[in-house]
Amino acid sequence: MEPQDRVRVQLTVNGSEVSRLVEARRTLADFLRDDLGLRGTHTGCEQGVCGACTVLVDGVAMRSCLTFAAQLDGAAVQTVEGLAGDGDLTPLQEAFRRRHALQCGYCTPGFLMTATEFLRENPSPSEQEIRTALSGQICRCTGYENIVQAVREAAGTLQADQRRQA
């Protein structure tokens, strides 16, 4: 195969078919934001550290700043826009709102995508497991406590704990 400047990719993004000719150097983050207008995926560091750009590719949480769109032919990508289907927030999003788990909101899409994958794999996590799972996401506003509480609430572990203590 000859190396190409531009690559044709066909993939699904939040369930919709997308076909585009992309520049080889286009990261998935920029593809989502600038080519598809999905600005919910944020970029902070563009070196894998901050986690703001985290999306799900074939159900797996990864950094969209470290993946090229050209690599994703045939993939299914889910972004924060794809969480609330018909405008109904997911239980996780609802818990973020109720628990004040965001202030400026810059980090929130990354936290939501990471926690969405995490709760799917581990529906009743301990607080320590939640903290470890979120350790790759940086938030400069909240001090993390409310984010951890929100994930616990979404997992139902918070209610269960409160019931046990009552």
Binding site: E2, E23, A24, A61, R63, L66, Q71, F118
Partner: protein, 292 residues
């Protein structure tokens, strides 16, 4: 920042990747998980003209136990190995080491082979490979070769890979029965690169003395190193705290750490001493459980 322009090719086989490398030699780079290469490209520290994507090569993501060794293929992700029952049952120190690499969203893409080819001096996987006397299998236009870890890791981000070679497998020989192992590291925050990391293996003889000890350290020099003087001292000693303390002291003296922004030379030595002592104690305790 954004990467400089490049041309992209998805190799469909190892042979095709080798052909592309031979054809474009210095201008081309291989892309595996991208968790080290892409940050460097985004920072423009690396500007390959051609990127050869390995991710589309079929059936190269397996993990096998065969002929007394664990073999990890080039597209096996760090997270799959960390969770693999085969790894946890046969070489638990590898899973323990991987769990300390970055974060799960990095390990979901990053490969074990890519980590060894990148050869960061503080990386966990090369230290485990070195501790078990493992090797890296390479395929190039001249054919196949197996390179033992001590000949593979040459220095800061330097390996024995030739410009037209692809690393296809890591081979970790399984430690003998009666072996316990432990991987410990210290980083300022969970998920950061280790300032110092230690892989320790202790094999106990039937009389309870140390039949064999292996110590590999990360973050204390240009490449991961074995503490061979400490290993020699420990061999034949009773597995008890005084021996671990003396072994740790020797290890901290034979290494040649450098000062950098993360830590001074002296701090790294002290960290190495503490971590080696703890890792030996844990490995020996696990070996006792193994023997029992």
């Amino acid at each position: 920042m954004k990467p400089a322009s490049f041309r992209y090719a998805a190799a469909r086989s190892v042979t095709e990747a080798v052909d592309l490398l031979s054809e474009h030699s210095d201008a081309a780079k291989l892309l595996a998980g991208g968790q080290s290469l892409v940050p460097m490209m985004n920072l423009r520290l690396s500007r390959p003209e051609i990127l050869i994507d390995l991710n589309r090569i079929p059936q190269k993501d397996g993990i096998y136990v065969e002929r007394g060794a664990l073999r990890v293929e080039m597209l096996a992700r760090q997270r799959s190995a960390e969770r693999s029952e085969l790894v946890r049952a046969n070489l638990p120190i590898l899973a323990e080491a991987i769990s300390q690499i970055g974060h799960s969203q990095i390990r979901s893409r990053g490969t074990l082979v890519g980590s060894c080819c990148h050869a960061d001096p503080s990386a966990e996987i090369p230290a485990v490979l070195a501790a078990v006397d493992g090797s890296v299998r390479l395929e190039g236009s001249q054919g196949l070769r197996d390179v033992p870890s001590q000949d593979f890791f040459l220095g800061f981000f330097q390996t024995a890979l030739a410009p037209d070679e692809v690393a296809t497998d890591l081979v970790f020989p399984l430690p003998p029965a009666g072996t316990g192992a432990s991987f410990l590291e210290f980083a300022r925050r969970h998920g950061d690169f280790a300032i110092v990391g230690v892989a320790a293996l202790v094999t106990l003889g039937s009389d309870g003395s140390i039949a064999r000890a292996a110590l590999a350290l990360a973050g204390v020099g240009p490449a991961c190193v074995r503490a061979s003087q400490a290993e020699a001292f420990l061999t034949g000693k009773r597995a008890e705290p005084t021996a671990f303390a003396e072994g740790a002291r020797l290890a901290s003296q034979e290494i040649e750490p450098q000062s950098d922004v993360q830590a001074s030379e002296g701090y790294r030595r002290e960290l190495a001493r503490t971590l080696v002592e703890r890792a030996l104690a844990t490995a020996a305790a696990r070996a006792v459980r193994e023997v029992a």
